[in-house]
Symmetry: C2
Subunit: 552 residues, 2 copies
């Protein structure tokens, strides 16, 4: 049987647009003698639809769209369609929806399999909407017996290095029931290393069950989440026979008979081998899709001469094109001459529009206005924040005037400890690098400079500084970034406490405790931060839900 | 048997503080001949602990605190303690925690009952952390057979006007097993009318099962959520025999033998009978606890002369005291004389510190700085937002300088349609009235003025205006607030679509569609809004999770 895996990029909620994308691809694929085309999990709706699924009117429109698809299938009578969508749960008690894979052929729904394992951790909330499948069944189709599962269904593998949250392994059930071909519809979001983990788990399932497996994953950015694709065809030994590209749409064609006999390709995997290459592509996709799906074309970015804004700007140019990026540098009395110059060089290297708007008189004007209220109190963070907020106001004014979307430039290390100004440099519609610790910011910047020098060398080598008071350097108020990043990983990603971290890494307990206390104290800032693109296993945002008014 | 219901206000994560609060109350109660004292759901941790429960080090500290409590109980050997906390789930597969009620007496844990029904909707995420109880059991204690359940366990009542999400009714199971007294530990958050719904459901369970019921609810504000208390003792007919106050701590003493015989009190319920009285108390508690639990004492508020900031300020004075509230009015070229005057009168009525900081020169300075970039483009929203953001910057500067927490003053109607400026008037640590539609803002303001005129009559009667351009009135850009609020309720709270709403209410479809489109388009602003106090059944915030980069 000839099968096509349609690794496509839907828009959340855009039922007509997603159906049209399906139709266009179906029309093309149907001319290639394919028997079955498979689309990702919830493809018709886009993943994750979140609380759109709480709206009955939206559910009704989803059902109507599925009916349209069933009708549409009569135009392509020789090809069956397996697609992810929602279906109603008719049980008297329970959630009102299933997360389903629906098999359609020539005007008829042949078979429906609901998702069994519903993730409720990190960014996932599937228990909020879905009832788990009552049972999982095989379906004989052409010369195969299909064993259909949806995303998480394939992840409860005995040796997976993950918490074992579920009692069942649906793939084992499908195998016992006699499946000859495992099919998994996924919407599996990316983080660094995720594609390796995904392959490892699916390959082990396939190998243990001695069954070939096809996995088709969504691709594209949806708010914080980047879906990387990497759809897979595995033989009965769990070896990769074919793999779709990472971070792009692709239709992957497979012959299931050949698949069972095939030896792994020697040309290697399609996945980008270098983590920095991968990270760059992920962020470009995340930025581009956020703009496209929000209806924006152009951005502006505040350039400080520092590495965070330089990296953000370089990524924006790759995502949106130089013509659509506008850099503004806003020197204050405390800005070094180098900062303006480095920003100018960056803009020239990138070929973007560039302007300088000094904030000296505005800053002085604020100080004058506040003088009666500040009553001779010494300069402190208040004055530093005023400068950052003047810049935020200027950038937002330009963004508003020209219908551009402002990008925030903060990294994960500063977001973690609150070394950033709410309503100041935290302003923006999207924070592309807010899940990159400072170390990763440097690594990715060097990677971007590999072919051509884009980010000025001075930006890469000078000591980081917020330049909000005379001769300020980050290292005056922060521990070294290497130590900071290590503590943050152990605390945020791995959940260790101060004592364990200090002990294990031989760091001063006082420093570790201060970092952790800063992380906890600054939850209120992150609550008001723009969405940031998730590229690590534990990002701030919807995957980390912490209380603010708390003591711990 | 003599039983005390300890309706107390814990702080999330503050294990030592909550244990100390328990100890102080236990010491007092133990002198009154009580046999059993009952604390609310997860009292030892504070509800909701959210992703604190993802941290193994935190779980270990919870376990150690429970051990301390067991030891502590030897000091009060004649009184048993039933308290909500987490316990480990030792199953090989599943979530690692239970949400448990633990019965402790004189150094021993007598019995533990886990929660069976785990809410995963609106603000609730309990499937994220907890494994449901394997079974639910009775426990004979003194002359009663206790049937212990936790919050949601009591809500799956056949006739409840709620979605029927669960297959079991744990109270029926407890009754069948022979319970003589139903006990429910709750952390049931407030919204307008919630206490009536809660009573109705519990009373019906009690009546159907012919069993008395004791329910002890958490009280206090935790971030967005306000817990109202209203702990209850019902007789076998589901009649209220005793009820704790709403929005305050109280120890309610009950004799279970008398409870079964008792007729309902004729003096009526302790619940505030007037919705506005209730709403006022709820918001005061929410503000006070947010400040207390975040470690702040003082606030500043931007006063515009309008009703939203006036109401916010009046509530802040009631919550924090006049000495701790500072009002700042920041007139622009477009401010009416009345605005400054009305703000001054409000401040005088409230007896708070008051200052005027005109923004004219700052505004002109921004325009001058931006002139080369704006290149003669006509005035539009960009200039309006500049003014709002100048005010945001000034307020945050004063807040930073004096260690005060800024309150945002936006209401639900403007938050819904985005009639507010991100990083401008949306700035603040908490948005006390952001779940109040404009109509409710007026109603509550009139209520607050009932005894003494606090909010100036001119503020109550003048046409609402943002005063960001010459002669601007809200009604120039918005539909009448009555229509707007009605559409918002039907769309946001009840989930209807434009056609249904226009049809049912006989509103112009175009107007309804424009409102709904504005709600959807402005999700990005709400994502960056400060936490707002939830007082309706569907508030923006953690209970409404919508995508941004979407089309629907």
């Amino acid at each position: 049987m000839k099968i096509a895996l349609a690794q496509l990029n839907p828009t959340v909620g855009d039922l007509n647009g997603n159906l049209e994308k399906l139709r266009i691809n179906l029309a093309e694929i149907s001319q290639t003698g394919v028997d079955l085309v498979i689309f990702p999990e919830l493809f018709m709706i886009g993943y994750p639809p979140r609380d759109l699924l709480d709206r009955n009117s939206f559910i009704e429109r989803c059902e109507a769209t599925l009916e349209k698809l069933v009708k549409l299938s009569t135009l392509y009578p020789n090809i069956a369609i397996l697609v992810g969508t929602i279906t109603r749960c008719r049980l008297e008690r329970g959630k009102k929806l299933y997360n389903s894979a629906v098999l359609i052929e020539n005007g008829k729904t042949l078979f429906t399999q609901h998702k069994s394992l519903l993730p409720a951790y990190d960014v996932f909330d599937e228990n909020r909407y879905f009832e788990p499948a009552g049972e999982i069944e095989i379906y004989p189709f052409k010369n195969e017996i299909l064993g259909i599962s949806i995303c998480e269904d394939a992840w409860n593998e005995a040796d997976a290095p993950l918490p074992h949250l579920y009692k069942k392994n649906p793939l084992v059930q499908l195998s016992k029931a006699g499946a000859t071909l495992l099919i998994n519809l996924s919407a599996s979001p990316y983080y660094l290393g995720k594609e390796k983990l995904r392959l490892e788990i699916l390959a082990r399932q396939s190998r243990h069950l001695k069954l070939p497996m096809l996995m088709v994953n969504q691709v594209g950015g949806n708010d914080e989440l980047i879906f990387d694709g990497c759809s897979l065809a595995l033989n009965c030994q769990g070896e990769v026979i074919s793999e779709a590209v990472q971070f792009n749409e692709e239709i992957l064609s497979i012959d299931s008979d050949e698949l069972k006999r095939a030896a792994p390709s020697l040309t290697g995997l399609a996945t980008a081998p270098d983590p920095m290459e991968q990270l760059e592509k992920a962020l470009i996709l995340g930025i581009r899709d956020y703009f496209n799906k929000c209806g924006f074309k152009q951005t502006i970015i505040g350039l400080s001469g520092g590495i965070d804004s330089a990296l953000t700007c370089a990524l924006a140019v790759k995502a949106l094109g130089a013509d659509n990026v506008w850099g503004i540098t806003m020197p204050s009395p405390y800005s070094s001459g180098g900062s303006v110059e480095d920003s100018r060089i960056l803009a020239e290297n990138l070929g973007i529009r560039f302007n300088i708007v000094p904030i000296n008189t505005l800053y002085q004007n604020y100080l004058d206005n506040l003088e009666p209220l500040f009553a001779g109190r010494p300069m402190d963070l208040a004055e530093e924040n005023i400068q950052a907020r003047i810049r935020g106001n200027l950038l937002m004014a330009i963004a508003n005037k020209y219908g551009r979307l402002l990008l925030a430039t903060g990294n994960k290390s500063e977001m973690a400890i609150g070394y950033c100004t709410l309503y100041g440099d935290m302003s923006g519609g999207l924070a592309p690098i807010s899940d990159l610790p400072k170390g990763l910011v440097y690594e990715l910047s060097h990677h971007i400079n590999q072919e051509n020098i884009i980010i000025p060398p001075a930006t890469l080598t000078k000591e980081p500084s917020a330049e909000l008071r005379p001769d300020q350097k980050d290292q005056d108020s922060l521990p070294p970034y290497e130590l900071l990043d290590r503590v943050l990983t152990l605390y945020i990603d791995e959940g260790h406490d101060a004592l364990t971290i200090a002990d294990r890494e031989n760091f001063p307990l006082k420093t570790v405790s201060e970092i952790i206390s800063a992380v906890n104290r600054n939850e209120y800032k992150r609550r008001q931060a723009p969405p940031g693109l998730k590229v690590t296993s534990k990002a701030f945002g919807s995957g980390r839900r912490m209380p603010i008014a708390a003591r711990f």
